[in-house]
């Protein structure tokens, strides 16, 4: 499958925006009192969300997890509204109710971000069921980590999705760590993709730091899903370059392991490819980098200048006031 120049540039841009956004958050969360709550980042894993989302149509749905920033930005969420939400501001995409961990952006069909590990797959079954029920040509993507594949809900969801041939792409972002546990310490099978066999669906292992490989796998899975052949499990092998959260000292991650994976940066890889293929010039790349930085700086300014919600706004948005007729 040939990937167009435009698609490669789109993915490069998407990964760069995500990296700049999170590099900024890495900085900001160290400043006392700046960002409330935990800070959980996907730095170095950008090829997964950017590659998968590049394969999607606007009507497709994504379900994300605690490492969501890249997925949401790649899906086209407004960086200003995301940053304001992370700051806990009223102008945030969820009015300060979700914070950095549960960002929901229904405007771009990012219907929910769940931080309950393994919470996403059963919900993806539901959204995909709705897509099938309405005979839409659309799919649901569910992003989750290697830890989630140990939850019972993951197995229930894969079984049901396969049984009903639901249009779901289960994307496992295997970043080699679930909390402080290295992959081998929490899962016996070498590849999580092998679990697809148990549910009679295609399973594929992909280099999760190669955005074009991720994109190709997602295109193939999407094609299978919309042609009513059911779900696919894609395992993207990647690496958690930062800790579980930014407060994590990473004492259990070998320094040389981290360094080796930082070398395998998915952005550098695509940039080098694009440069050598003549898809982009050095100047144009630098200009793109500068533009992404500007977007992030604007988002920070927007967030900082935005007001906090007033305390009693906490009481809003629990229920819809239904009109029953």
């Amino acid at each position: 499958m040939q990937i167009t120049k435009e698609k490669k540039i789109e993915m490069l841009r998407s990964m760069l925006l995500s990296r700049q956004f999170e590099d900024k958050l890495t900085e900001l969360c160290k400043i006392e009192g700046k960002i409330p709550g935990m800070m959980i980042l996907c730095t170095g894993q950008e090829a997964v969300g950017s590659g998968v989302c590049a394969a999607l149509a606007p009507e497709d749905i994504i379900i994300s997890n605690h490492r969501s920033h890249n997925h949401l930005l790649a899906r086209g969420a407004d960086p200003n509204a995301l940053m304001a939400e992370i700051y806990g501001k009223r102008t945030g995409c969820n009015k300060g109710k979700s914070g950095t961990l549960h960002l929901a952006v229904p405007e771009v069909n990012a219907l929910c971000t769940t931080t309950v590990v393994g919470g996403g797959p059963p919900i993806a079954v539901g959204t995909a069921f709705a897509q099938q029920y309405r005979k839409e040509e659309s799919v649901t993507v569910c992003f989750f980590g290697d830890g989630a594949a140990d939850e019972g809900s993951f197995h229930e969801a894969l079984n049901l999705a396969s049984l009903w041939r639901l249009p779901v792409i289960f994307v496992c972002e295997n970043n080699l760590y679930a909390g402080a546990q290295r992959y081998e310490e929490h899962t016996k099978v070498k590849d999580i993709a092998d679990r697809a066999i148990a549910y009679a669906m295609p399973g594929e292992v992909v280099d999760g730091n190669d955005v074009t490989a991720v994109y190709r796998a997602a295109c193939k899975a999407r094609e299978i899903a919309v042609s009513e052949k059911g779900p696919t499990l894609i395992e993207c092998k990647t690496y958690r370059c930062h800790g579980h959260g930014e407060a994590d000292l990473q004492l259990y991650q070998p320094k040389d392991e981290i360094a080796a994976w930082v070398e395998k940066c998915p952005i550098d890889k695509l940039r080098d490819e694009a440069l050598s293929e003549g898809l982009i010039s050095n100047d144009a790349y630098e200009e793109m980098n500068r533009k992404m930085n500007e977007i992030v700086e604007n988002a920070v300014r927007f967030a900082e200048e935005s007001p906090f919600p007033s305390p009693e706004e906490a009481l809003e948005d629990v229920f819809v006031s239904s009109r029953i007729s």
């Binding site: 749905i61 379900i63 945030g92 995409c93 969820n94 009015k95 300060g96 109710k97 979700s98 549960h102 929901a104 229904p106 405007e107 219907l111 929910c112 971000t113 769940t114 309950v116 919470g119 797959p121 059963p122 919900i123 993806a124 079954v125 539901g126 959204t127 995909a128 069921f129 709705a130 897509q131 029920y133 649901t140 019972g152 809900s153 229930e156 969801a157 079984n159 049901l160 049984l163 009903w164 809003e316 948005d317 629990v318 229920f319 819809v320 239904s322 029953i324 007729s325």
Partner: protein, 325 residues
Amino acid sequence: MNQLGMGQAVNQALREEMMRDSGVFIAGEGIGVGIMESPMLPTFGLLKDFGPERVKDTPVSEAAIAGLAVGAAAAGLRPVVEILFSPFFTLASDMIVNHAAKLRYLSGGKSTFPLVVRIKNASGHGAGCQHSHNLEAWAAHCPGLKVVMPSTPADAKGLLKSAIRDDNPVIFIENMALYFQPGPVPDEEYLTPIGKAEIKRQGKDVTVVAWSNMVGLALRAADQFSQEGVEVEIVDVRTLAPLDKETILASVRKTGRLVVIHEANRTGGFAGEISAIVMEEALASLKAPLRRVTGPDIPVPASPPLESFYIPNEENLISAIREII
């Protein structure tokens, strides 16, 4: 008026709402083809009339069933899913408690989750504590859930129709003993509002607050007191969340005496909540200390004499009323 059991009334409600709205579908274990086939059961005949696209028999996968509801609701359908017996709620509870109840709030009010979880409750059948457990107080304790527990077939029909049209998640708990106790159900279409208690019997001397199967028991006890010249008022709350506290308080202000009865065990039971509301808002009206009649703090036992000991009976209620009049 037809004489129907509660299962038949629920069946009518499902039927009418499925005919009215093509977005309504039902799912659960054995709801299409079940172990028991009886016209007294709630989903009898629905598979034949609505087909397998809208009547979804599921695997034994409560997390996936509840996730199906959450996702399908997020994507615009109106799922009505069934939890076979109330203790299995725990298997579905992450999807209900952490997702159905919270995702609207986390979206800052952007998303809606119009879903109904029907839970069948079954004490009195010798099935034991893993098939019998009154857990309404758990559900009512979760902000974001509505909790409905009808006591009559007519209420069950009208309340379920309202629940399906409600844009919020509704937990609808059916006591299975009531499936086999026929009562009048209006022929014409009607809705019963969620959040409205009903005075099932007028009285001036003592208020009994009850729900579900305890309402019938309270009515029988009231008949007995009537012969002695003591008029008991029965408030059927019908909905625990939102609770119609105005109707409860107005009744207590009138009678000056209160007994709350529920089948669930005592500690942390919903009678405590109702008692606290009355103490805070109508203490001056009380002519005697209030009383709670509940199951003891034990799991529901299996052997008939043990189970009968667990379930509050008319004698328990009569003694409690005698203590305060």
